[in-house]
């Protein structure tokens, strides 16, 4: 109980710090959205449009920063993240709402698959050392050392093209409307295969390795020897005793690494033109779209926080030692 309270306090503090940081950082960014818009339309927005855009974005008003900070909190507490510049006047929350499902769907699910698969292989590698899974390690290490985006681009070059099963970009076929039907779902899945495979290939080795190492460490614990001595079946010893315990450190590692994953998959989304959050963030940075930047950053931070909180709860459930009341 105490543990959870403490963690909650920590999460609130972190959330506050992140939100504050979030507020100040874009304000330090020089340049402004209008110019970015012009540069995007090299030469095709007239000089006279600059003023109209400034008026549009409300950039001509000046307020002191403290007041802005308070307004920002006021807005946040009303669930209002402001209006995006890039997609003016679409609210940031709508933009995020549109891209979040894709990120969660692709990155989220793939990350979980990567974690589960990597952990399972790691259990195998750690338990039966010297087996084929162990032999896989050097190869996966090499693959995971390749930058995401490079792997993705090469995959596109190699696997896509006219007549190929794999589409080169996008989350679904053009002309389809997102809906749960027999046309859209297969298309969405088809489009996610390559990016998902890229993420899998480059992120899995981390899990395999850490799980393998934990398995090796746990395998030499006395209680494993005792489990063997008890004559339990190999499966039971491996899963219920060794893997169960080896999993514990990986759970919190998993939550913490979510932050890294979001950063990394940003690139996958860019490369595969996948309409997710990472790509939006990249665009927002490029277009100086502070409200969108802030919104996405906030969402990412909060989801990492929530993941951590969940990991804490999972840890609490998995490890009775932390549960003492």
């Amino acid at each position: 109980m105490r543990f959870l309270l403490q963690r909650t306090a920590f999460y609130l503090f972190t959330a506050w710090a992140a939100i504050t940081l979030n507020f100040f950082i874009p304000r330090l960014v020089p340049g402004d959205p209008v110019q970015s818009l012009i540069s995007r339309n090299q030469g095709r927005i007239s000089a006279d449009a600059i003023q109209s855009l400034r008026v549009l974005f409300g950039l001509d008003a000046h307020e002191n920063i403290w007041q802005q900070y308070l307004d920002y909190w006021g807005q946040l507490l009303h669930g209002d993240l402001g209006l995006s510049f890039t997609f003016f006047p679409t609210p940031v929350s709508t933009v995020i709402g549109d891209s979040l499902p894709w990120t969660v769907g692709l990155v989220g699910i793939t990350t979980i698959i990567s974690f589960l698969l990597g952990t399972a292989l790691g259990v195998g590698a750690g338990w039966r050392r010297g087996s084929w899974v162990d032999g896989l390690l050097p190869a996966t290490t090499f693959l995971s050392s390749i930058p995401y985006f490079w792997l993705g681009l090469v995959a596109i070059a190699v696997f896509t093209g006219p007549g190929s099963f794999f589409p080169s970009s996008g989350g679904y076929e053009a002309g389809l409307v997102p809906a749960f039907d027999a046309y859209f779902i297969p298309s969405a899945i088809k489009h996610s295969v390559l990016p998902a495979a890229t993420i899998l290939v480059s992120s899995m080795s981390g899990w395999i390795l850490s799980m393998r190492n934990m398995m090796v460490t746990v395998s030499s614990e006395d209680y494993i020897t005792v489990a063997h001595a008890k004559g339990l079946s190999e499966r039971r010893v491996a899963l219920s005793y060794a893997a169960r315990n080896a999993l514990l450190p990986n759970v919190s590692g998993f939550a913490l690494s979510l932050g890294f994953i979001v950063g990394g998959t940003l690139l996958v989304e860019i490369v595969f033109s996948y309409p997710g959050l990472g790509f939006q963030l990249f665009q927002a940075v490029g277009y100086k779209d502070y409200p969108l930047m802030q919104g996405i950053f906030l969402i990412i931070t909060i989801s990492v926080l929530v993941a951590n909180l969940l990991a804490d709860v999972a840890y609490l459930l998995l490890d009775p030692r932390t549960r003492k009341s």
């Binding site: 340049g31 549009l56 995006s84 006047p89 053009a174 046309y183 309409p275």
Partner: protein, 536 residues
């Protein structure tokens, strides 16, 4: 079933046109006035809303083509225009398009500066019968197309109910064009043709599918493999990457418009304040090399005329004395010119009159790869006359600021474009925009070019009430430009596109340049109306 995707398969080749733009995911926003809307970004606003007149940027001097208005009459000083609205047009909800609607639209733009993306100083619009009189504060001879061609006409009965038209995303756009919005997703939008009520023959294309690809490379790939049939995107080595993929059908058309790109020189910095040096530099810069190497041989059509006016769009404006005079690389000529002006070529180093070596720092934003490549070529070219150039890859924001504030030596940049060469010369030489170094001059004259005659000619051209005065002013501008060379012109803006004739023919091309081809221009509607099924 009732799935929105159910009929997806039966829309085959001859009914659908796939249009792509490399603009990233979009948010649902069909407000035709906002540059930030998906409708503007991808260009489908012009398939739904129509302008009063159609103008052809490829042949800017050609007369305007009647569209929603059957005719337009400018007052002699170009401060007001009287348009007559066609009486057979209807909105897609069935109501008639009236002069009231048009007047309402112009008053709306006037009332909300945020919607006035062309910055035309409207004062008033009044309807009477089928006519609308639109009044402007100042003469708009050079901005005619901004008034008649760039303003989408919207229905009053809908827009008067919109409380804030600057933030409304117009979920169900109702326009006078032949298409209505069928579906919207962040990456793709579908427009379907209206059943009835369009004022001219309905288009053959039953459905327009817009896809917003995340970047140039994705768009190019889509073009290459036929997913996209029409787009505007920079394709490096387009012959190999795009055309070669389907020699018969994949085509690129990139006509120049009256807007150019070139090397701005800071005329306040020594020794670049010397026109002789600037002209010598112009003489060695290999525009053709830049065109083929940096611009993939098509993207910024080479500006050949010494006046900096692109061809053919600018041909009719070229002064008699410069007609047919094309820029040629002439290293020896440049050297002679320099020696004549007191410079010394000391081995591989050019020394100025005071004996200091001439060096120049070329800057452009890091990510703009065609500009960067251009600078590399310029650097190479300048070395031929002993100028040591360095290429600086700047941060984009810093670059914008520095260029506007005059903190640069030489930079590649564009000029504004318009219906006449006025916008080109204004961007380069307008003394009214002259600001001290350190103060931003966002509208132009980045090189701080200070020439009263040029400014006077610009003012005269914009305010002139007769063609003779305009011609005089234009000739003066060209003469000053050629003699002073405040900016070295290299290429022009193109307003074309990459397209496929596999399913649709009738695209504009050199043989029939009936309009701009970029899918985001108002002409896009005209283009679609020209299309015919390839096998039908």
């Amino acid at each position: 079933g009732d799935s929105p995707n159910a009929n997806k398969k039966n829309g085959q080749a001859a009914t659908v046109l796939n249009i792509g733009m490399p603009n990233g995911p979009q948010a649902e926003n069909n407000n035709p006035f906002l540059t930030t809307s998906a409708a503007a970004s991808l260009g489908y606003r012009w398939q739904i809303y129509e302008p009063l007149m159609m103008w052809n940027p490829v042949k800017p001097a050609d007369p305007f083509k009647p569209w929603l208005a059957t005719k337009a009459e400018w007052s002699s000083d170009y401060t007001s225009v009287k348009v007559t609205i066609r009486d057979n047009a209807t909105w897609s909800d069935g109501q008639k398009v009236t002069a009231e609607d048009v007047a309402f639209t112009y008053n709306l733009v006037k009332k909300y500066p945020a919607l006035n993306d062309q910055g035309v100083p409207y004062t008033d619009a009044t309807a009477s019968g089928n006519d609308v009189t639109i009044k402007m504060e100042s003469p708009q001879f050079v901005n005619q197309q901004k008034v008649l061609w760039r303003v989408p006409i919207v229905p009053k009965h809908i827009w008067e109910k919109i409380s804030d038209p600057t933030t409304d995303t117009v979920k169900q756009p109702v326009g006078s064009g032949p298409y209505t919005l069928k579906s919207f997703t962040p990456a793709s939008m579908t427009l379907s043709v209206r059943d009835k009520g369009y004022w001219q023959d309905p288009p053959k294309v039953k459905e327009l599918r817009y896809t917003s690809y995340t970047d140039n490379s994705a768009q190019t790939t889509a073009l290459a493999n036929g997913e996209s049939e029409w787009s505007f995107v920079f394709i490096p080595n387009y012959q190999a990457v795009f055309v070669a993929k389907d020699q018969e059908h994949h085509k690129v058309w990139a006509p120049a418009i009256l807007g150019i790109h070139g090397l701005y020189l800071n005329t306040t910095k020594k020794p670049f304040d010397d026109p002789a040096l600037r002209r010598a530099m112009n003489m060695v810069i290999d525009r053709a090399d830049i065109f083929t190497t940096a611009e993939a041989g098509y993207f910024h059509p080479q500006v050949k005329s010494v006046t900096g006016l692109p061809s053919p769009a600018g041909d009719s404006f070229v002064a008699p004395e410069f007609k047919g005079q094309e820029h040629k690389v002439d290293v020896e000529g440049a050297k002679a010119l320099l020696t004549g002006a007191g410079y010394k070529l000391d081995g591989n180093t050019l020394k100025d009159k005071s004996g200091k070596p001439v060096t120049v720092k070329l800057t452009d934003p890091a990510g703009w790869s065609d500009y960067q490549t251009s600078l590399e070529i310029v650097k190479d070219n300048l070395s031929k006359i002993g100028i040591a150039a360095t290429v600086d890859k700047a941060n984009q924001d810093a670059w914008f600021r520095n260029v506007e504030q005059g903190n640069f030596e030489a930079t590649f940049r564009w000029t504004e474009g318009g219906a006449t060469p006025y916008d080109i010369y204004r961007t380069i030489m307008d003394g009214r925009q002259l600001k001290p170094i350190g103060t931003a001059s966002p509208a132009g004259n980045f090189g701080r070019f200070n020439n009263k005659a040029a400014t006077d000619a610009l003012v005269a051209y914009a305010n002139a009430t007769d063609d003779a005065a305009r011609t005089t002013a234009m000739n003066t501008l060209q003469k000053i430009f050629v003699e002073q060379m405040p900016m070295i012109p290299v290429g022009a803006d193109n307003i074309g596109g990459a397209y496929s004739t596999k399913n649709w023919t009738g695209w504009p091309d050199d043989a029939n340049p009936y309009g701009a081809m970029q899918p985001t221009q108002p002409n896009a509607l005209d283009v679609v109306l020209h299309l015919k099924p390839a096998n039908g």
